[in-house]
């Protein structure tokens, strides 16, 4: 069962970062972390800032996503990430930049959007502190 593969795509606005058959993908969704295996029920969720682990036959690749969206169908998983960087390239300065940007966005946002952004800001700050 755990050997079943499914198509996975990690897409950023600038290019397709990864398009491969993988065995599992772990993401941090806004309502909690989850791991996706093959034949998962269709679900779509926003992602909070955090790591995405992509497991292919025991080998794991880890990216950091600042925000994104995952769309899961039984045979395909697509992650739309606003920006993705390898864990090795990650530094706290980068996250600080994102935090600053989110703060400036909040000033003019509508109520519902403020709610979304506040959550994001909170997640980012938490993540920054863990680093």
């Amino acid at each position: 069962m755990s050997n079943a593969l499914f198509n996975f795509e990690l897409v950023t606005p600038e290019k397709v970062l990864m398009s491969d058959s993988v065995s599992s993908v772990s993401v941090s969704g806004v309502e909690g972390d989850m791991t996706v295996l093959a034949n998962h029920a269709p679900i779509a969720t926003s992602l909070r800032p955090g790591y995405i682990d992509i497991n292919t036959n025991g080998k794991t690749e880890r990216f950091f996503l600042t925000s994104g969206f995952i769309q899961i169908t039984p045979d395909e998983v697509v992650v739309l990430a606003e920006s993705a960087s390898l864990e090795a390239d990650l530094n706290s300065e980068m996250i600080d930049n994102v935090i600053e940007k989110t703060k400036s966005l909040m000033e003019n946002a509508s109520d519902l959007q403020k709610c979304v952004l506040a959550k994001k800001l909170n997640d980012l700050t938490n993540f920054r502190n863990q680093l």
Partner: protein, 292 residues
């Protein structure tokens, strides 16, 4: 008739112009390849994003929609975003965008709507400044940007969205050149706010699968809408980048060919004048000899 020295100088100067245009053409060709690649690599994200947007907005559970999606109910103040290049010498690239935008503005004027202009790239700004100077509210300078990144687009879109939420305008449209091929770039207008949703696709999407949304559709839409708008701007900027290089390449190709033609003509003229001078001298010598 210009003397031989002048002709020689002119031929030399046209030759060096040809060298420059030739070099610019080759540089544009190299840049075009990169720009095209960037545009191509960005396509999957844009496609998937619009697919997701179509799907979510067609879902029944979306009750009161965000103003970014449905507009704020007014249609009075239009924001015209004009994306042009930072450098010239690219044929009709900039003027074709400006012409399309002007047509649009004139239509708005005749309908009695107000408009504001935001320019990206200085060439379009220069062309519009005299006529619409008082309508220009902002300018985005990309002259320092070597390769257009998503960051650039998202900064612009964040700006636009916050202006929209402050009720500074009701409808936003972006003007840019769609890259068709090296010799053809089509100026286009795309509406950003309220965002256009492709309704004809929705039918067959719905039948594919019923998604569980987490959190609910409403919140996902709030999260995705700014990204979708940024993506549209990003696509427009990339298309524009490829079009600019394509336009420059063909303009410079033309210039090189024209310079070649001109050199041929001038060379013929030069040879004729030289021949005439020689003939003149011969006549003088012969008639001098006859007189003796």
């Amino acid at each position: 008739m210009p003397n031989l020295k002048d002709l020689k100088n002119r031929i030399e100067s046209v030759k060096s112009t040809r060298k420059i245009t030739k070099a610019m053409q080759m540089v544009a060709a190299a840049k075009l390849r990169k720009a095209q690649e960037a545009a191509e690599q960005a396509r999957p994200y844009a496609d998937k994003m619009s697919l997701v947007m179509d799907k979510i907005t067609s879902s029944d559970n979306v009750s009161s929609s965000s103003p970014l999606l449905t507009g704020n109910g007014n249609n009075n103040i239009h924001l015209i975003i004009i994306a042009t290049s930072e450098r010239g010498l690219c044929g009709a690239f900039n003027s074709s965008i400006v012409r399309l935008a002007k047509n649009h503005i004139n239509k708005l004027k005749s309908e009695g709507s107000q408009f504001k202009i935001l320019t990206i790239g200085k060439k379009g700004r220069e062309q519009l400044k005299r006529e619409f100077g008082e309508n220009m509210i902002d300018h985005v300078d990309l002259s320092e940007v070597k390769k257009i990144a998503y960051e650039n687009a998202s900064t612009i879109s964040d700006n636009i969205i916050s202006m929209f939420l402050n009720n500074e305008f009701d409808v936003a449209t972006i003007f840019y050149n769609q890259f068709e091929s090296v010799i053809s770039q089509v100026p286009q207008a795309a509406q950003l706010i309220p965002i256009e949703i492709n309704s004809d696709k929705i039918q067959n999407i719905n039948s594919i699968s019923n998604f569980v949304y987490e959190p609910d559709e409403q919140e996902i839409i709030e999260d995705l809408l700014p990204k979708a708008i940024a993506t549209k701007i990003f696509t427009a900027l990339l298309e524009n980048g490829a079009s600019e290089q394509g336009a420059r390449m063909s303009a410079m190709d033309n210039a090189t060919r024209n310079a070649g033609d001109m050199i041929d003509k001038l060379t013929i003229q030069f040879n004729r004048s030289r021949q005439a001078a020689i003939t003149n001298e011969l006549i003088e010598i012969i008639s001098g000899a006859e007189a003796l």
